[in-house]
Structures are given as C-alpha cells and as structure tokens.
C-alpha cells in the first residue's frame, strides 16, 4: 500500500492514472485526505468537512472504476469554495447572514464535477461574499497560510492552535488556495471577481486560472458582481488546472451569460509549447515602487518564454491605472444590487423589528460584516440619484477603454500578455487595510484589469522571494483562448521547476 502522505501529495493527473491502474482505490485516496484535513484544523481552511459524503462518493467511484465507467475526474477528492451552493450541504459564502443556509439545489459547476466522478471533501473558507484579499473578512475566522517566512516563529502550539503572527493565504479564495497548498485536497474550486483566484494562488505557490467571462456557468454560485464573477480551479500544476477547468466549464441554459461554445480539451493544449507565439510585456505594469524581486522574476519569465521559442514584444495598455478605481465603483454597485436579496425574510439570518423596514435594517446590520457593509454602501451611493452618471456611467466608460486597450494589443498579433500576478508576496495577518481599505485593494492591481475586460488569466508559481515565500506570474489571454494560457503556463512551470510546498508543520 502507498503511504498516506504520498496519496495526498499526488497531482490530479497522477491520481487519475493511479486509480485507473488500480494502484490504490478512490476510498484509500479519499480517506488519506479526510485524515489530513482532520489534522489541519488549525489552518481553518475548511468551514465544513463532509467526510461521510466524501467516503460514500469514493465508494461509488470505486464501483464505477471496477465497471470501467470512470468519468474524467472519477474518485478525485476536491475542496469546494463555500460560495458554490451544494444540495443538502450548508453553503454560507463566508457570511453570518447565510450561516444556516441549506440549498435545495446544486450549482452547475459542482454538478458538472460530480457528474465527472469527483469527490467532495467539504466546503472551503473564504472572504465574506468573496470581498477581500486576505481571507480576513470571513465570518468564520481567517485562514492560516501553510507558508511561513524563513525563520518565522509561527507554529502549532500544544493545544493545536496557531502561535505567532501567521501569513494570510490571500483571498477571497483563501481556503481553496491554503487547502491545495497544504495537501488537504487534490484541487479546489474558486471564484475570481477582481483577482480572487490568481492572488491567493500566487501567495501559496499554486496554479489558479480565471477563465474568460462566460466560459463557466455562474448558476448556483452566490453572486458578488455578476458582470465580473467567474469560477475556476486552484491546483498544484498547470496540467491539473486544465483537467479541472474542462470539467467545471459547460454551456448552461440556466445562465444567460454563459456561452454556447464547446469546451476544448484543455489538457491537450498543455504540451503545445509557445514556439512562434507573440507574448506582450505591458509597460504600464511596471509600477512605481515595484520590488526588484518581482521585476527580476517578470524579466526571468519573459526569458523563459523566449528560450522556448516565443517572441517577446513590449506593448502598451494605457488605461491600466484606471482599472482598479473603476472596479471599486462597478463591483460595489453590482454587489449592492445582488446583496439586496438578504432581507431576513426568504432565507438567512433574521432580527425582528417593529416593522418590515426595521426588520430588514436590523437583519442586515447583524448579518453582514464590516467590509461587506462598506461595499454595499459605496455601491448604493454611486447608484443613487445625482451620482449615477458621475460615478457608475463614467466607470463603465472606463471599462470600455480598458477592454479596447487589450483588443488593440491582440489585433497587433499578440497571443498572450505576461505580468506579475501580485505586487508582493503574502503579508501577515492584520498587516494591511486596517486604517485605509484602499491599501488592501491594491493587491489586485495586476489582476483586476482582466476581470474588467472579461479575459482569461492564469497565475503560475515562478519562484521564491528572499523570505522564502512564493511569487507568481500572470498570463492574460485572448477571450476564449485559455488553451494558450495552459501552453505558456506549462513553459513557466517547467522552467521554474515545481515549487516545493511546505511540510505539514501544523499537523
């Protein structure tokens, strides 16, 4: 029998092959993860563990494998971000207001995964309603990154609680990124509205792709900003990312913004290489005060792609600096509208009041956390009479210009764009944004442009900083050309070498 730690350290591709060859069973693979999760509670990556469901699903997978009816993800244990509604399993979106919400339906993304044979290990922690970049806004407490700075004093104390100032895993998909990096699942679902897949992936040495807007159905995923939200996977390799995205994506009559395009065999694109491709380096991403380490890594990434046969060209995306401020109008505006549904009447937390307006106000005051309240209020303000044109309409015009920048670059024959994924490595808990929320928002400066333009973007680990923490590079593609991102991402992964993930110091 294969040692348990080896089972949790497999990639999805390796596990798939091992299951097929009957080297181990889906039940053994799932049990190894269930045990690892139970020992890692100090990380707070899972808000809900579903071991019984996982083992039942694994048993069904073993039967299917025996009958030769295995699906594309048969027996692969995954973690599910708690933004995805799962039938009969409490789904909270990281919020107290949905603390007891038990969906009577399944999101299209998770339905697709189960149809392909995947196993659900549990629900993963996240920033409340996906609003945050550090997982500190979760109603269920922050997630502890499995990464530690070199020489750090962070440890799991005798009681099993974390001691010392730990690092954040990024957000909003912080539980997803931490669980994948800590070997608590083979892959995880995540969502990205301004960088919430790519930033935590970069912070934890994992791979995260936000597909093109419309590639993955949003049905059954709790909405934050509907014109920006897209689901995607976080995994430990580029190939795994391609495997998982193929299962997550599908046309969906239940989501009118989900495109009726066939889902390509993304895994086939992984080994395609970048020979003859033109890769753009946008000069506007060279921001003031950028750390020399990030700049060096970015340069290194371009050299790796050049060495693999790509042509590197400098490009210009002149409206880059306006993407983040425009986002902080558009996203809160959509959030204020989407979150109006939490009224204490149809579902969720309720605080009684003297009349219905008082009931609404008290329920929402008690149920939402500070960051969510702040964003709803900003959104309400920019959509209110007298300010709509000055803020919201202007931001939507900027969005047109941001998208046009990309279109002009792609029209020059550029196939993909290379940038850093984040302006820094992971930071410590409580270090950012306590006084000024904008300080936290700046984390998304390199990723948010991609959501504003609806394009696909992938973050791939590319190296470590001086403190031994992972740094990622981002590749931005043409609409519906995730395949080029997988091909180029694999070149970066091969050149950088797979990042050595942390040992289980928490167990």
């Amino acid at each position: 029998m294969i040692p348990v730690t080896e089972l949790t350290h497999l990639t999805i591709a390796e596990a798939r092959d091992g299951l097929k060859a009957k080297t181990f069973s889906a039940t053994e693979l799932t049990q190894a993860h269930v045990d690892a999760i139970a020992k890692a509670r100090a990380l707070n990556a899972y808000v809900l563990e579903t071991p019984e469901k996982a083992l039942a699903m694994a048993k069904a997978s073993d039967e299917k494998i025996a009958k030769g009816e295995a699906g594309a993800l048969e027996g692969i244990p995954l973690g599910i971000k708690d933004l995805f509604c799962t039938e009969g399993v409490v789904s909270t979106a990281g919020s107290k207001i949905l603390g007891n919400f038990n969906p009577p339906y399944e999101s299209t993304v998770t339905r697709n995964l189960w149809n392909d044979g995947a196993v659900m290990l549990g629900k993963l922690n996240m920033d409340e309603f996906a609003m945050g970049s550090s997982n500190e806004t979760s109603a269920f407490g922050p997630v502890v990154s499995p990464w530690r700075r070199e020489g750090s004093n962070v440890s799991a104390g005798a009681s099993g609680a974390i001691e010392g100032t730990h690092l954040v895993p990024g957000g909003s998909s912080g539980g997803s990124a931490a669980a994948v990096a800590a070997h608590l699942c083979l892959g995880a679902t995540a969502t990205d509205t301004g960088g919430s897949i790519r930033q935590p992936a970069a912070f934890t040495g994992t791979v995260g792709i936000k597909p093109t807007y419309g590639r993955v159905s949003r049905w059954g995923t709790v909405a934050f900003a509907s014109s920006l939200d897209q689901a995607g996977p976080i995994t430990r390799s580029v190939r795994d990312s391609a495997i998982m995205l193929r299962s997550m994506a599908s046309p969906d009559p239940k989501d009118t913004t989900c495109v009726d395009l066939p889902v390509p065999d993304f895994e086939a694109a992984v080994s395609r290489g970048v020979k003859g491709l033109k890769i753009g380096i946008p000069k506007e991403y060279r921001i003031d005060g950028m750390s020399p380490e990030i700049e060096q890594l970015w340069h290194q990434g371009a050299e790796w792609l050049r060495a693999a046969g790509a042509e590197i060209v400098e490009v210009s995306l002149p409206h880059t600096k306006y993407a983040l401020p425009a986002y902080y109008i558009v996203a809160p505006a959509e959030a204020s509208s989407n979150l109006a549904r939490y009224d204490g009447v149809r579902y969720g937390l309720r605080e009684n009041g003297r009349d219905i307006a008082d009931l609404y106000e008290k329920s929402r005051a008690a149920g939402f956390g500070r960051e969510v309240k702040r964003r709803i209020m900003i959104g309400t303000y920019v959509l209110s009479a007298g300010y709509y044109d000055a803020y919201y309409v202007r931001a939507q015009k900027l969005r047109t210009l941001i998208k046009r920048d990309f279109e002009e670059v792609y029209a020059q024959g550029v196939h993909a764009i290379l940038t850093p994924a984040t302006p820094s490595a992971a930071f410590g808990i409580g270090e950012k944004g306590s006084g000024d929320p904008v300080e936290m928002y700046l984390n998304d400066i390199f990723t948010v442009t991609v959501n504003m333009a609806g394009l696909p973007g992938i973050a791939v680990p590319a190296g470590l900083d001086a403190q031994g923490l992972p740094l990622g590079l981002q590749l931005i593609g043409r609409a519906f050309d995730e395949e080029t991102l997988f091909a180029a991402g694999q070149v970066i992964e091969d050149s950088a070498g797979r990042i050595r993930l942390p040992q289980a110091w928490w167990a």
């Binding site: 109006a340 709803i376 209020m377 202007r394 929320p437």
Partner: protein, 95 residues
C-alpha cells in the same frame, strides 16, 4: 467628492443597513478614502465613449416562454426564518 455624516446615514438607510452612532464616523472615513481613490477617473476624457453593457459580445440567450420548473413551494420556503402554509411571514405591512 466626499460624504458627511448625514449622507452616511442616508446611504445606510437606502441600503437598509442599521448603523450605530459609533459606526458612522468610521464608515464616513472609509467611504471617503474610497471616493478619493476613485477620483482619478476624472482625469480621463470619456467623451463619445460608450459605457460597457456586456463584457463579451453576445446575443442574450432566449428560450420558449413556458413553465419549465416549479411545483415545490416547500423547497422554496425551507430556508425561511418564519413561514406558514408555505408563505413567508413578515411583520404586518398593511393596517
């Protein structure tokens, strides 16, 4: 532009979020920090630019106008804090 305390209270009411007296100055500071950050959008000449309405050029999907789902009110109300006979219960709205 910046907001005063009175405006913060007005926004909170529009958003149907009760705020305490202690929360108002904090919210005011945070909202003003964000409004000052987005101020830079005024540098850009947006004359003649169409505001974005759809990020991917696509025709909205339509389907036959027919009943395709439903018939399970108990599922619809199963998460409601207060119900009676498959209706949502709220405080008295009409005298």
């Amino acid at each position: 532009m910046s907001v005063d305390e009175k405006t913060v209270r007005r926004i909170a009411h529009l958003a149907r979020i009760a705020v305490t007296d202690e929360e108002v100055p904090h919210l005011q500071g945070e909202i003003n920090a964000i409004l000052s950050f987005v101020e830079q959008l005024n540098e850009v000449n947006v004359e003649g630019i169409e505001p974005m309405t759809s990020v991917t050029p696509m025709v909205m999907k339509k389907r036959q106008d027919g009943v395709t789902d439903g018939g399970y009110p108990e599922k619809i109300v199963q998460n409601a804090p207060a119900t009676e006979d498959n209706f949502f219960l709220v405080p008295k709205v009409v005298e």
